[in-house]
């Protein structure tokens, strides 16, 4: 009987987690992602009751969150829905919008620390963006080691990085390398 257990973006059958000092980082294969784009002049929907955020914004409820990615474009993120047809659920919430499944195109990594300032110091090493602007409730699309990433700050103690799935290994290498040097 072949083993059909799906692999995570890092190539394992279980999520990985590494701790350096007070920084813990790991991948989050259970998160689902779908993009939502509005046609010109279409009214702004309220998917899952979310008030879609403006430029650079991130809005979350208990299970679902919306990330601003461009004018009239968002990513909708959901916990524990990685194995479901999440795009269909978003489309049901916003039937007039253009919705595309993104779950398997992107991989998410959470960097957590009880000390939010430690996450800020790590960001100083990784991205060419003012860490002060990556505050809770914001999302920025930028470049990290020449990879296109979405930086999401759900709360002061957590930074989530979304990256193209094929870059997962490279991002992991960059992030744990910077964290190891910070802890040394």
């Amino acid at each position: 009987m072949p083993d059909l257990t799906p692999l995570t973006a890092l190539g394992h059958d279980q999520p990985q987690s590494v701790t350096y000092g007070n920084l813990t980082m790991g991948d989050c294969p259970d998160l689902a992602l779908a993009s939502l784009t509005l046609r010109r002049d279409a009214p702004v929907p309220l998917p899952f009751g979310l008030d879609l955020p403006g430029p650079g914004g991130y809005v979350a409820s208990a299970e679902v969150a919306a990330i601003w990615t461009g004018p009239r474009q968002w990513m909708i993120e959901a916990k524990a829905k990685g194995c479901t047809d999440f795009a269909a659920q978003v489309k049901a919430q916003a039937p007039d919008a253009i919705v595309t499944e993104q779950t398997d195109g992107w991989a998410a990594f959470d960097i957590t620390s009880p000390d939010g300032a430690a996450i800020g110091r790590l960001l100083e090493k990784l991205v060419n963006i003012d860490p002060g602007t990556v505050s809770p409730g914001t999302a920025s699309r930028t470049s990290l080691h020449h990879m296109n990433v979405l930086l999401v700050r759900p709360d002061p103690c957590c930074l989530r990085i979304w990256v193209g799935r094929s870059f997962a290994g490279s991002l992991w290498h960059a992030v744990i390398g910077a964290a190891a040097r910070q802890a040394a």
Binding site: P55, W68, T69, G70, N128, D130, R141, T142, S143
Partner: protein, 98 residues
Amino acid sequence: MLIPHPLLGLRDAEEFVYLGDASLMQRPDPDSPTALTDFCDYVFLRDNPAGVHRELWFHEQGDRSWLVVTRNTLTHEILGAELATDAARPTVTQEPSA
């Protein structure tokens, strides 16, 4: 070099791709009787000013918007940036009164 993105604030120029003279947004009318020479100028002729220049930049590693950036080519000073969708909107010109 930092580019003042109208929606996102100061962003590193490395996130952007440079796409040339902003006058490329004024595409000639293909039905005009002078279309051939108009398109010849449009495709091949560019001003190369030493000084203030309006140019297109694409926020490729960001929100994927097109900007019209005004830059001084002598000093690299960025004098302003606006969304190309706003810059391309037709402006209402007042007809001269007879």
